[in-house]
């Protein structure tokens, strides 16, 4: 049963990550794959605050989200002022640089990893309580992204993706929209990091590298960008598939590479066969107000 709970928690965490990442790259159209570094920042900040600072864990998790939020503003603001393309370079640099940096900081565990992170809920209320907590945050994240993108802010993001110059000429601030959305998406990833840290109780810098970037990107692309349920389906499928093939009884020497191949294979298959993902986003933005009119 513990195995199932752990899988459910991983699914919940990746729903949070994929959904918030879709907000950044899908809805806002920003080019970045550094989502895991903000997940890492949330995880490490929350873990250290709880472990060394004795901060209550829920507060530590929120502080982790806040740290990721702030760090993402510092990365995004200078690069987006220059041009959208610089965000990709600046954020990957930040991601890989910070991972290398973390490996050399003894007080956070260095390359060997941070151990003995205080646990939350599980000891007093059992694993199921943690499953419920993570899934609740996942549902809230999906609902929040849906709410944000189907309201006036979603209309702004759609217009900005279409034509940034015309958008500016109407008086709208494209840089501010981009920085805000990047920070919100990263802040959500930071909270997910805290949720990860206090369940698994072990963090190592290398787990937040490009491999995880590609996993989250695959979830969004396979599920369907700019849809409410696409990132959810992507996260569920790409968490369950690698687990499922472990039941095939293959020798570990084949199993490991096979799981790795599956991600890149899926991306390739989808690029050719169904580039819009399992769920296709409508090409016309329809906000809440539009739907209300259609219903009435």
């Amino acid at each position: 049963m513990d195995y199932i709970y752990t899988i459910l928690i991983l699914i919940g965490l990746f729903v949070i990550l994929a959904s918030s990442f879709d907000l950044v790259i899908g809805h806002c159209g920003l080019i970045s794959i550094a989502h895991p570094i903000f997940y890492a920042l949330g995880a490490y900040v929350s873990a250290m605050l709880a472990k060394e600072g004795g901060v209550p864990i829920p507060l530590a998790m929120l502080a982790g989200g806040a740290a990721a939020f702030l760090a993402s503003v510092l990365v995004a603001l200078p690069s987006l002022r220059v041009s959208g393309d610089y965000l990709l370079i600046a954020s990957i640099g930040f991601q890989l640089g910070l991972i290398e940096f973390a490996k050399h900081i003894h007080s956070i565990g260095g390359a060997g990893g941070l151990t003995n992170i205080p646990s939350f809920l599980v000891n007093s209320y059992g694993r199921l309580s943690y499953v419920i907590l993570v899934l609740a945050v996942a549902v809230l994240t999906v609902l929040f992204v849906r709410w944000l993108t189907s309201g006036p802010y979603g209309r702004m993001m759609a217009a900005m993706r279409d034509d940034e110059l015309a958008f500016s000429m109407l008086g709208r601030n494209a840089i501010w929209v981009k920085v805000s959305v990047f920070a919100i998406g990263s802040g959500i990833a930071g909270v997910a990091g805290g949720l990860y840290a206090h369940y698994f109780r072990f963090l190592e810098p290398d787990q937040f590298g490009l491999l995880q970037s590609s996993a989250i990107l695959t979830m969004v692309v396979v599920g369907g960008m700019r849809t409410t349920w696409g990132p959810v389906i992507g996260a569920v499928v790409l968490q369950i598939l690698p687990q499922a093939i472990t039941f095939l009884g293959l020798p570990p020497s084949i199993l490991g590479p096979l799981q790795g191949l599956m991600f890149s294979g899926l991306v390739l298959v989808f690029m050719f066969a169904r580039p819009q993902g399992l769920l296709a986003a409508p090409d016309i933005w329809a906000g809440r107000s539009t739907r209300e009119r259609a219903d009435g």
């Binding site: 944000l148 309201g151 006036p152 802010y153 209309r155 702004m156 759609a158 217009a159 993706r161 279409d162 034509d163 110059l165 015309a166 958008f167 500016s168 000429m169 109407l170 008086g171 709208r172 601030n173 494209a174 805000s180 090409d283 016309i284 933005w285 906000g287 107000s289 539009t290 009119r293």
Partner: protein
């Protein structure tokens, strides 16, 4: 006569190409000025300089007595400068109504925190923008297609949407870049009437247009541009009648 927009000694060159050569120009409240000149005369470049899409090498651009040269595009828009584009630049993934909804000087969700902490304020701003959008859509004959995606309407209607979107700004100064190119019939009459009404409400308007009949019917005055220079200003009739200008225009 009150100058709304005053451009003085404006210069811009791209390498060896001079797009603005010491341009002096003023737009007057309630009047329509036509910019006439052959392709490459610097008409659209002048619009781009005024809007901040391109930064001038030197010179001054004043909107209602305030220097706007150096301000970002969005700041100029929020001071009451609006324009349309030669290639329309409509938001293709939005409906006609949603294109207009983004046009007010202050948008409902410009301040992110308002979404969370002042939802009533945002909802009121959305309602006000929708009412205003529908009033403009009625005036421009677009109300019936308010919910249509941009790609499903005719080119003439798209041109009108471009003008209608610019009107959401309550601009003091409106720049129209070739509003009539490719437009015929009913849309032609509607655009003409819309521009007259806007001018009558006290807006200073500048029109770049190759359709001479439209310029003559609509504009109070014309300016002839050639090679980044303003060569003459006067009544449209007089400009068209000038044999020297006609020669420059047709390049005979």
């Amino acid at each position: 006569m009150a100058d709304v927009l005053t451009v003085s000694a404006l210069n811009k060159r791209f390498g060896g190409i001079v797009v603005a050569d010491n341009i002096d120009l003023s737009l007057i409240k309630g009047r329509v000025l036509g910019l006439i000149g052959p392709n490459g005369a610097g008409k659209t470049s002048l619009f781009n300089l005024v809007c901040g899409v391109v930064r001038p090498d030197s010179g001054s651009i004043m909107l209602d007595g305030q220097e706007i040269n150096g301000l970002p595009i969005r700041a100029r828009a929020r001071m009451g400068l609006a324009r349309t584009w030669q290639n329309l630049r409509l938001f293709a993934s939005l409906s006609v109504l949603d294109n207009l909804m983004l046009g007010p000087q202050v948008y409902s969700a410009d301040t992110f925190t308002d979404l969370i902490f002042r939802p009533g304020h945002v909802a009121a701003a959305e309602r006000a923008a929708r009412d205003k959008a529908f009033a403009i859509l009625e005036r421009t004959g677009l109300a019936d297609i308010a919910h249509q995606p941009i790609r499903d309407i005719t080119f003439g209607q798209q041109k009108l949407v471009g003008v209608a979107r610019a009107l959401m700004n309550d601009a003091r100064c409106l720049l129209l870049d070739e509003p009539m190119a490719g437009v015929e019939g009913q849309a032609y009459a509607l655009i003409q009437k819309a521009v007259r009404d806007i001018a009558a409400s006290g807006v200073a308007i500048c029109v770049v247009e190759h359709n001479v009949a439209f310029i003559r019917d609509l504009c109070d005055e014309g300016v002839f541009m050639f090679a980044g220079k303003v060569l003459a200003r006067g009544s449209v009739e007089a400009l068209i009648a000038d044999p020297q200008l006609t020669e420059l225009y047709f390049g005979t």
